[in-house]
């Protein structure tokens, strides 16, 4: 079968929702720098996809999913852009956000009662085209979001330039998804290991290791293979304490 018009094919390939398996990125879609140069090098467009879904699948809660996004959220909020946090699992703690450089005045936190409301609120946030970034936590339940619903979000996201982060449970890694980027988070050697499950371009086989650790802990991990014995609580009691008396 021969193509009748090369122009038509060329025009088709220009579409943002079509990517070719042999190329990592298209020049048109510049990403938003993640703040981790090792990760940016592996992401098409050199950063988090703008105007597209990114699925983040942390192996379990607290592994570093927000530390990973800290630099990009800080950069966006400092430019005066809005950050919509939809259905976060706990209260985002303002002092930690401030310490990460995120302007908490630019946060809009949306609490929802059901998965349906979460999807609705996420779609509204994307359609409004008023946010610098949208973060949404989808329920842990399998099949909480159907492909068609995610596709709706993807289409809504394409109307703007905001990166969209969907936090989902790692069990759905095998399900198909319209997201432009899917990453699974694990740990390795005391740091954060980012496994790219899907990106627009050739698959990435090795995980990206990031030094995403809170400052107080970082110093203690010059050599992660030693010093893994739990500090006994009795010993901890003798540490010089930072006293706060008020």
């Amino acid at each position: 079968m021969a193509f009748t018009g090369d122009c038509a094919v060329a025009a088709l390939l220009e579409r943002p929702d079509i990517w070719r398996g042999d190329s990592l990125s298209r020049a048109g879609a510049r990403g938003i720098p993640s703040g981790f140069s090792g990760l940016d090098a592996e992401l098409p467009g050199g950063g988090w996809p703008a105007g597209a879904l990114t699925e983040v699948l942390p192996a379990h809660e607290g592994i570093g999913e927000l530390r990973l996004l800290g630099p990009v959220l800080a950069a966006l909020s400092q430019r005066g852009l809005w950050l919509a946090w939809i259905a976060p699992p706990h209260l985002p703690y303002a002092p930690a956000l401030s310490a990460a450089g995120i302007d908490i005045a630019k946060l809009v936190i949306v609490r929802t009662a059901s998965a349906k409301e979460t999807l609705w609120a996420t779609e509204q946030a994307l359609r409004s085209n008023a946010c610098g970034a949208v973060l949404a936590w989808l329920p842990k339940v399998r099949c909480a979001a159907k492909y068609a619903e995610l596709r709706r979000l993807q289409i809504a996201a394409e109307g703007g330039r905001a990166p969209v982060f969907l936090f989902r449970s790692p069990e759905i890694a095998s399900e198909s998804s319209p997201a432009a980027l899917r990453i699974a988070l694990g740990t390795a050697g005391g740091g954060l290991a980012v496994r790219v499950l899907k990106r627009r371009g050739t698959p990435l086989t090795h995980p990206v290791l990031l030094p995403a650790m809170p400052p107080a802990v970082r110093g203690k991990h010059s050599n992660p293979h030693v010093d893994r014995h739990p500090v006994p609580a009795t010993a901890a009691r003798n540490f010089p304490a930072r006293f706060v008396h008020a």
Partner: protein, 425 residues
């Protein structure tokens, strides 16, 4: 035509008594809405609104553009109108009464256009019209051709004066209508409505009227209320609050749609009313010459209001930080975009649990998904003796067996014990 005769011709005819008060209210409503096009609005009871538009032509891009906006707007308000224009107010209202949708710009063409109108537009007593008919006068032109003294003697000077005003021979000053300071408009529904969503169509008419009213006053509202009137029960009120004043009819309609779609009606609705009390000045928006670099074009206020109208006001909020050492009191919810002091607290987790979760302890080692490894600490926080919420805790950063980092503390009073308070995420 008598009611009996009408019913004989059309047995399914629905007879509705005329409601003069309702007509007046409607006319005033249209007047308030139309004041957005010109400050010179005069009401001519019982059925006309006069607009002095010569000063507004440039602003709105010519007569055709104004007429088109008026036509579209009155249709959205739910009225069918006859629009006509002329150099004198009386001539314009007569043209409209005669059903002539004409717009006469030059005074020279006025003579000809008015001469062809039937004498009924004069709206005199029945005897006058009978007498005019008896002498064979059917149009204004024929009436004007009669000797003036004779007409004055027979029909009174006021008839002649009216004619002169229409033709521009006598001045015709009008009292301009001053729109009220608060907005209130209502619609009696043609049938009782049981589905809340079906009210939106009628409510939209009121919203358009409100937007016009606000545009006329260069103002906006920060809250308005839709009242649903029932037959026997007290009215249902749907109050809508906005973050910033607005007069955007589309946005108002969206907010009402969200609220109505989630509403279960207690009783069928017979009438709806829209009310807005506090009109605040709303300056027009200055647009930058160039698009601001990288700023998304949407309105975040609209997003927040839209989410709130469906999820509830408390479901959408921002964060505030307080100068307070007790971790659970350091944050509070606040309106988004409220400036916050920058406070340095040292190492703090991204997630704070709603309430600390007790942890098991084996051999002096706290357990959460397995034994915890303490990485940093203790940070002693002892505070709050003055308000009864005093705490005495030693906080540690710990690592779970899954390599997640958590924020835990050991209670220093009472029975002690370990608690999980945050996740570093």
């Amino acid at each position: 035509m008598a009611v009996s005769a009408a019913l004989a011709l059309a047995p399914r005819l629905r007879i509705v008594p005329r409601d003069p008060a309702g007509e007046t209210e409607a006319l005033l409503g249209i007047g308030g809405w139309a004041a957005q096009f010109t400050p010179g609005v005069a009401i001519e009871f019982p059925d006309s609104v006069l607009l002095e538009v010569s000063g507004s032509l440039r602003l709105f891009g010519g007569l055709e553009s104004i007429v088109e906006r008026l036509r579209r707007g009155t249709t959205e308000l739910g009225w069918s109108t006859v629009l006509a224009g002329a150099p004198t107010p009386r001539a314009a209202s007569w043209l409209a009464l005669a059903g002539e949708q004409k717009f006469i710009g030059a005074a020279a063409r006025l003579e000809e256009a008015l001469a062809a109108l039937p004498v009924e537009v004069l709206r005199r007593e029945d005897e006058t019209h009978a007498a005019l008919e008896a002498i064979g006068v059917r149009t204004l032109g024929e009436l004007r051709a009669l000797p003036r003294e004779g007409v004055a003697r027979r029909f009174g000077q006021r008839l002649l004066d009216d004619l002169d005003r229409a033709f521009g021979a006598l001045p015709d000053p009008r009292n301009f209508f001053a729109p009220p300071t608060r907005f209130r408009a209502s619609i009696e529904l043609p049938a009782e409505v049981t589905q809340a969503e079906a009210l939106l169509f009628a409510a939209r008419r009121l919203v358009v009227q409100l937007a016009g009213f606000l545009a006329a006053r260069s103002g906006g509202v920060q809250r308005f209320a839709l009242r649903l009137g029932h037959r026997d029960q007290a009215t249902t009120e749907i109050a809508i609050g906005l973050i910033a004043p607005s007069r955007d009819a589309e946005h108002f309609t969206l907010l009402l749609r969200e609220r109505l779609s989630g509403l279960a009606l207690r009783a069928p609705v017979r009438a709806i009313a829209l009310e807005a009390d506090d009109v605040v000045p709303l300056a027009g928006r200055n647009l930058g010459l160039l698009l601001e670099e990288g700023k998304p074009p949407g309105h975040w206020e609209y997003l927040v209001e839209r989410l709130r109208s469906r999820l509830g006001a408390g479901a959408v909020h921002g964060l505030a930080s307080r100068a307070e050492h007790r971790p659970e009191r350091t944050v509070a919810s606040a309106e988004p975009d409220s400036r916050q002091p920058h406070l340095d607290f040292g190492e703090r987790p991204f997630w704070l649990l709603d309430r600390p979760r007790p942890l098991a302890e084996t051999g002096a080692v706290p357990h959460y998904e397995g034994p915890l490894e303490l990485l940093a600490g203790p940070e002693r926080i002892e505070s709050g003796w003055w308000d009864g919420g005093d705490i005495a805790r030693d906080y540690f950063v710990a690592r779970t067996r899954n390599e997640a980092l958590v924020w835990i503390y050991r209670e220093r009073r009472g029975e002690g014990g370990w608690y999980l308070h945050g996740l570093f995420a």
